[in-house]
């Protein structure tokens, strides 16, 4: 049995060994239009409380056998009824000690008999409302949980779909590449400039398609692969990533300023990928600068979070489009300015999310960019 009927009624329990007492309560509370249950003793009250939920219990103190206080204590000791509001009713010659005892047993109110019907009604009405709201909240929560579960399932389906589609696209892509390549070999010397231009653009587009497919697969993999968190000092990780990048940077002059990075609980391979992305971007977008400066350091005053930042003095970006930075395949620059498919930051965001963290950025055109990567502090070992 629930505390609420479908039509919005709640249950109220009236406990008094004397029938006249119950009658008084009933007539006072009837206008509230709720379901009133009667108990003639503490034991009876307990039985009912085990079988149903009540919005409020009006409990007479002076009862033979189990008195009101004992009953209240018993009601409070049961999990199901632990938080049910109990209002004590007693004759007017109650001492302060007794009142104190009443509150100590868990009462929310102490009413002296005879109690005005109006007062009784308004007090009980409060608890009726409370019970209704609590029930509504419970229902909302259940709905939310259901929606969440469905969302989770849809997300997983989508991931599986995008993975399998990307996967299946590779075969026809391989064929296109293969026959374009053979065609090019076959027409060696026979193609004029126009022909060669068409061929080259077709092959370029095919290459681009391959890159996009690989990127989707990589992005998809980030969501599927198991997270293996371990105590991770970010300093050697950053150094390793930078070392790997040096040859690519070639003969460019890059000044690396790496601060003392924190240690977090994280997945090494995922964090490595995130750093490779952020630092790689810094290298890429400072490509036009004669002297590139790339900084990486800890984020100190984050409160409940711990993190790092990566700053460069490169091309920067228009902050008006900052919200697009982390979208899949979203780019804020042209291909002939800087290469890329626009998956890198989407990957970083996904990696951050999988750790319960976040990533955001600041920047201005021509004035460089700063990327922030933060994780919840519980991730600190």
């Amino acid at each position: 049995m629930d505390e609420k009927r479908p039509d919005g009624q709640v249950n109220i329990l009236l406990v008094d060994d004397q029938p006249e007492g119950l009658l008084v309560l009933e007539s006072a509370l009837a206008p509230l239009g709720q379901r009133l249950s009667r108990a003639h003793s503490g034991a009876d009250a307990l039985r009912q409380v085990l079988a149903a939920d009540f919005a409020a219990i009006l409990l007479d103190v002076q009862m033979p056998g189990m008195d009101g206080y004992e009953t209240a204590e018993a009601i409070r000791s049961r999990e199901r009824s632990r938080n049910t509001p109990i209002l004590f009713l007693t004759a007017h010659h109650t001492s302060e000690v007794q009142i104190f005892h009443g509150y100590a047993s868990g009462a929310v109110d102490f009413l002296i008999k005879p109690c005005s019907a109006e007062i009784l009604r308004s007090k009980v009405k409060v608890f009726v409302e409370l019970a209704r709201q609590s029930e509504a909240l419970k229902e909302l929560n259940q709905e939310l949980e259901l929606l969440n579960a469905r969302l989770g399932a849809t997300n997983r389906e989508l991931e599986a779909f995008s993975y399998s589609v990307s996967h299946d696209l590779r075969a026809p892509l391989r064929h296109v590449n293969g026959f374009l390549g053979l065609l090019e070999e076959h027409l060696e010397g026979l193609m004029d400039e126009e022909g060669r231009s068409y061929m080259s653009r077709a092959q370029g587009a095919s290459q681009r398609m391959g890159q996009l497919i690989d990127d989707i697969l990589g992005f998809s993999r980030l969501a599927r692969q198991d997270l293996m968190k371990t105590r991770l000092d970010l300093n050697p990780l950053a150094r390793a990533v930078i070392e790997e990048m040096e040859p690519e940077a070639g003969d460019r002059k890059i000044e690396w300023r790496i601060g003392d990075l924190p240690t977090i609980q994280g997945d090494p391979s995922l964090l490595r990928a995130a750093f490779a992305n952020l630092l790689g971007n810094a290298v890429k977008f400072t490509g036009h600068k004669p002297e590139a400066v790339i900084e990486m350091g800890p984020l100190d005053d984050l409160g409940a979070e711990v993190g790092v930042f990566v700053r460069d003095n490169g091309a920067g970006f228009d902050p008006a489009y900052a919200h697009k930075l982390f979208g899949v395949f979203q780019r804020l620059h042209l291909d002939d300015e800087f290469e890329g498919t626009g998956i890198g930051l989407a990957n970083v965001q996904r990696i951050a999310q999988r750790h319960g963290g976040r990533v955001w950025a600041e920047g201005n055109p021509g004035e460089g960019a700063t990327f922030y990567l933060a994780f919840p502090k519980e991730t600190q070992p």
């Binding site: 996967h167 075969a171 293969g178 390549g181 053979l182 391959g210």
Partner: protein
């Protein structure tokens, strides 16, 4: 096509067959290939039955095995191969589109010698497949029971045919 092909290519997609044969031309191996279009045909060839009941006895030097095949898939073919005394030593190279970990793991568990994901890039594909063929059909000394390599000496780069 000679009677004693050193390479058994198990591949259902004719475009992949065409590209693979083209790649194998680099080391003059294109006419060393028998193509089976599905798992059943592959086993018919290996067991000398069905359409192949009259072929000369002997095993190819390598089986290039696609995984996604109609009727019987590549892993099943491999399992049967490795479970048959006369065939279990034949080198197998899985040549597939699938980058799936579980296929790779199962492939090795069943005893493949190599697992190659078909490269999407033209030049890489040609290079990789040519080298695969070159290694297994020419450089590698095959297990007992393989077709004798009559033409190998004649086909060495220093002795063009």
């Amino acid at each position: 096509m000679n009677d004693l092909p050193r390479i058994l290519l198990v591949e259902d997609d004719p475009k992949d067959v065409a590209l693979t044969l083209k790649a194998l031309e680099r080391f003059n191996l294109a006419n060393e290939v028998t193509v089976a279009r599905d798992g059943v045909e592959a086993l018919d060839f290996l067991f000398c039955r069905g359409n192949y009941s009259r072929r000369p006895p002997g095993n190819p030097a390598v089986v290039l095995l696609d995984l996604k095949l109609p009727k019987m898939d590549g892993l099943e073919v491999l399992r049967i191969l490795r479970g048959t005394e006369a065939l279990r030593m034949i080198p197998v190279v899985i040549l597939t589109s699938s980058g799936e970990d579980r296929d790779r793991i199962e492939g090795y568990r069943l005893g493949t010698n190599a697992y190659v994901v078909k490269p999407v890039h033209f030049a890489t594909f040609m290079e990789s497949v040519a080298c695969l063929g070159g290694f297994w059909a020419i450089v590698n000394a095959p297990p007992p029971g393989s077709f004798p390599n009559f033409g190998a000496l004649a086909r060495r780069p220093s002795n063009p045919q």
